[in-house]
C-alpha cells in the first residue's frame, strides 16, 4: 500500500513521543537511505508499471522484441474489451467484476454484522473459557483455504450451494469472521466499559447503551476491519475457482485467470483486466488509509 512506515508512525496517537527528527521529513534522509529506497521502489513497482504499460499498448507493441518502454502507441482498446463483449454486449469479464463487487461487499457486510457484536460480547462479558474460545476461533484461520475446499465442495454440492454467489458469500463471510472478531475485539477493548455502565444507569438497556455510546466510537475500527475483510474477499481465488464454474457466477480472479491458457494469450486484455481489478481496492484503501493505519498500529500505541 502507498503508505510509508514514517507516515504511519507520525499520524498515530504517539504524538507525545515524537520520532527522531531525522525521520520526520524526506528531505533530511541520508543519501544511502534514498538510494536503497529507490532501488526497493523500482523492484517492487516494476511489475505494476509493466502491467499498466501493457494494458495501454497495442498488441503489436506488446509482442515486440526487444520490448519498447516508451516508443509505443497508446490505445484504450484493451479496456474496452474488458467491458464490452465481441458481440457488442456485456463481456464475461464485466459480469465477473459485478459478481466480485456483490460477493465481496455482501460477505464483508455479513462478517461485520456478525463479528462486531461477537467481539463486543467477548470484550465485555465474562464468557466461559473465553481464551479457549477465542483461540479456537482464530485457529480456523490457521488453515489455508485449499485444505478445506474439498470437504466444502462436497457439502455445497449436497445443499445446492455449488456454483452460486450465495455460496461464495457464505464461505467468505465464514472465513472473514474470525479475523473480524479478533480485530474488533482489540478496538472494543480500547473503549472504556464505563460509557456503557453510565448509559445503563442513565436508563438505557445494555443493547441501547452499546448502540448509542460504544458503536459510534468503533466506526474507525469497523472501517479498518471491513477493508481487510473486503480485500480478502476481493482477492480470493481458491474457493472461487473450486466452487464456481459458470460465467454468470464467477468472480473476477478466476475469470482473469481463465484468460490465460488458450492457444494464444491476449496479454493486453489480461493486463487491462488486472488494472481494473486492482483499482477499486487501491482507491478504497487510499480513502480509508487513516483507519487502516489505526487498525495496523493497534496494540503498538496502547497506553
Amino acid at each position: 500500500m502507498a503508505v510509508s512506515v514514517d507516515e504511519a508512525v507520525s499520524t498515530g496517537p504517539a504524538r507525545d513521543h515524537p520520532p527522531p527528527a531525522r525521520r520526520l521529513g524526506g528531505r533530511s534522509r541520508s543519501v544511502l537511505e534514498v538510494a536503497l529506497l529507490t532501488v526497493l521502489a523500482v523492484v517492487m513497482l516494476f511489475p505494476v508499471l509493466w502491467m499498466i504499460e501493457t494494458s495501454i499498448k497495442e498488441n503489436r507493441d506488446v509482442y515486440a522484441v526487444p520490448a519498447e518502454f516508451f516508443g509505443f502507441t497508446v490505445t484504450m482498446d484493451h479496456f474496452k474489451d474488458v467491458f464490452v463483449g465481441p458481440d457488442g454486449g456485456r463481456s464475461a469479464l464485466s459480469v465477473a467484476f459485478l459478481n466480485s463487487i456483490l460477493v465481496a461487499g455482501a460477505s464483508t457486510v455479513l462478517a461485520t454484522v456478525l463479528g462486531v457484536p461477537a467481539a463486543w460480547a467477548y470484550s465485555r462479558f465474562a464468557v466461559k473459557a473465553k481464551k479457549d474460545q477465542l483461540f479456537f476461533i482464530l485457529s480456523t484461520r490457521f488453515m489455508p483455504p485449499v485444505v478445506v475446499v474439498i470437504p466444502i465442495f462436497l457439502m455445497y454440492r449436497q445443499v445446492g450451494l455449488i456454483d452460486t454467489k450465495l455460496g461464495l458469500i457464505l464461505i467468505y463471510a465464514a472465513y472473514n469472521l474470525p479475523f473480524t472478531i479478533w480485530m474488533m475485539k482489540g478496538f472494543v477493548d480500547e473503549v472504556p466499559a464505563e460509557y456503557e455502565d453510565a448509559a445503563m444507569l442513565d436508563g438505557y438497556t445494555r443493547l441501547q447503551a452499546f448502540r448509542r455510546f460504544t458503536l459510534p466510537l468503533l466506526v474507525p475500527g469497523i472501517a479498518a476491519t471491513a477493508v481487510f475483510a473486503l480485500i480478502f474477499s476481493w482477492n480470493e481465488f481458491v474457493f472461487a475457482i473450486f466452487l464456481t464454474s459458470s460465467d454468470s457466477v464467477r468472480t473476477a480472479p478466476p475469470a482473469i485467470a481463465g484468460l490465460i491458457g488458450g492457444t494464444t494469450v491476449d496479454w493486453g486484455l489480461v493486463a487491462a483486466a488486472s488494472v481494473v481489478f486492482a483499482l477499486p481496492v487501491l482507491v478504497f484503501a487510499y480513502l480509508v488509509r487513516k483507519h487502516l493505519i489505526a487498525g495496523v498500529t493497534l496494540g503498538a500505541v496502547r497506553r
Binding site: 455502565d197 453510565a198 445503563m200 444507569l201 442513565d202 436508563g203
Partner: protein, 358 residues
C-alpha cells in the same frame, strides 16, 4: 424516598477478594459515606449496588424490595463514576441531558433541567464543549450534573471531589451537603478522604480489604473506633499507638513509661495492648496528672496549629500544640495525657478494649 440495603456482598476478581461480606443499611434520605483507602472495595461496592457487578453472594434491596438481579436501568439510581465516564462524542449539554433523553422527556423539560444544573454547578460556559476540552475539575462537575439532573431513588457517588483543587473541593463539599439537604435525597458517597467523610456524613462505614470495619456516625467512628485500624485511618494527624500492658492499676509501656490504668477499660492484665492517643488529647504546654516524658523529635507547623513529634523511647507521639510553640530537637519534654479520652486496643486482635461506659 429511597433506602438502600446491601447484605453480605461478596465479589472476587480472580484471586483478589474485592468484597468480603459487605453489609450496609442506608436509611432513606441519609448521606451515607463509605470511607476506605484505595483498593478497599469502595468502587466495587457502589457498582454492586448499581447492578453493574455480578455478585458471588449477597443481596441488594432497594426500598425494601429485592433488586439483586435487576438490570441497572430499572434500579432508578444515578451514579457519579470515579473516572467520570462522560460520553466523549457528546457535548456537555448532551451528557447532562442523557438520563432525561433515556426517559423520553420533552426537549423543553430537558433544556430547563440542564440549565438548572449548569447554573448550580457553574458550568454554563461549558455546555457546548466536549469532555476532551474540559479540565479534570470541570469533568467532575459535569459528571455530578448528569447524576443530579433527575430525582432517582438514590445517588451513588464515587469519589466525586477527589480531582478538584482544594478551594473548589471545600466549596463543593458545602454545596453537595446543601443539595442533599434540599432534595432530601439518599446519597451513598464513596471517598478515601476522612475529612470529607467526617464533615459530610450522617453515617460512615469504614471499609478495608473488602470488609466493613465499623459503621456509625462520624463522631462515633472518631471517638470510639472499633479497632486500631479505624483509629489509625480516621483522624489527622493519625492517632499515636504505644505498645503496653496492664499491671494491676497501672499501664506499663514497652518503652518503660507507666501511666494510671484508665477506669473504663476492660483489658485484662498480661495481654499485649496498644494505647491510642490522639494529638488533641495530648499537650506539651500543660501539665496533667498523667504524663509521658520523651524528647522533641520535630515540629510540623500547619498554620493554625503545630504538630509536635515527641520521641518516647523508640515510638513517636504526635501532639497538637499552638502555632507559637517552639523547641529544639532533642529537648526533653513532658507530655500531658488526657487518659479519659485515650483508647486501648488488643495488640493481637486490634479490637478496641475501651468499655462501653465511656
Amino acid at each position: 424516598m429511597g433506602t438502600v440495603a446491601a447484605h453480605g456482598l461478596c465479589k472476587s476478581f480472580g484471586k483478589v477478594q474485592a468484597l468480603d461480606g459487605v453489609t450496609l443499611d442506608v436509611p432513606d434520605g441519609s448521606f451515607f459515606v463509605v470511607l476506605g483507602p484505595s483498593g478497599a472495595g469502595k468502587t466495587t461496592t457502589l457498582r454492586a449496588i448499581a447492578g453493574l457487578e455480578k455478585l458471588d453472594a449477597g443481596s441488594v434491596h432497594l426500598d425494601g424490595r429485592d433488586a439483586t438481579g435487576d438490570a441497572p436501568a430499572t434500579r432508578d439510581l444515578a451514579m457519579v463514576f470515579q473516572n467520570y465516564a462522560l460520553y466523549p462524542r457528546h457535548t456537555v449539554y448532551e451528557n447532562i441531558a442523557s438520563p432525561l433523553r433515556a426517559r423520553r422527556c420533552s426537549s423543553r423539560e430537558i433544556a430547563a433541567a440542564v440549565e438548572r444544573m449548569s447554573s448550580l454547578l457553574h458550568i454554563e460556559r461549558l455546555l457546548q464543549r466536549r469532555p476532551a476540552q474540559l479540565s479534570g475539575g470541570e469533568m467532575q462537575r459535569v459528571a455530578l450534573a448528569r447524576a443530579l439532573v433527575r430525582r432517582p431513588r438514590a445517588f451513588l457517588m464515587d469519589e466525586p471531589l477527589t480531582n478538584l483543587d482544594l478551594k473548589l473541593r471545600v466549596e463543593m463539599r458545602t454545596e453537595l451537603t446543601r443539595i442533599h439537604r434540599s432534595l432530601g435525597a439518599t446519597v451513598v458517597y464513596v471517598t478515601n478522604d476522612q475529612v470529607e467523610a467526617l464533615s459530610m456524613a450522617d453515617q460512615v462505614a469504614v471499609l478495608k480489604e473488602g470488609k466493613v470495619q465499623q459503621v456509625g456516625t462520624p463522631t462515633e467512628v472518631y471517638e470510639r473506633p472499633a479497632n486500631r485500624w479505624v483509629a489509625g485511618f480516621v483522624g489527622s494527624p493519625p492517632i499515636s499507638l504505644l505498645a503496653c500492658h496492664a499491671e494491676g492499676d497501672r499501664l506499663v509501656g514497652a518503652q518503660g513509661w507507666t501511666l494510671p490504668r484508665p477506669r473504663w477499660t476492660t483489658a485484662q492484665g498480661g495481654r499485649a495492648l496498644l494505647l491510642g492517643l490522639r494529638a488533641e488529647d495530648l499537650s506539651v504546654e500543660q501539665c496533667g496528672d498523667a504524663s509521658l516524658s520523651g524528647e522533641l523529635y520535630g515540629l510540623e507547623p500547619l498554620g493554625d496549629r503545630t504538630v509536635v513529634d515527641v520521641l518516647v523511647g523508640t515510638e513517636i507521639l504526635k501532639v497538637k500544640a499552638r502555632p507559637t510553640v517552639t523547641g529544639r530537637p532533642g529537648e526533653r519534654l513532658s507530655v500531658a495525657v488526657d487518659l479519659d479520652r485515650a483508647h486501648l486496643f488488643d495488640a493481637d486482635t486490634g479490637l478496641s478494649l475501651s468499655g462501653a461506659g465511656r
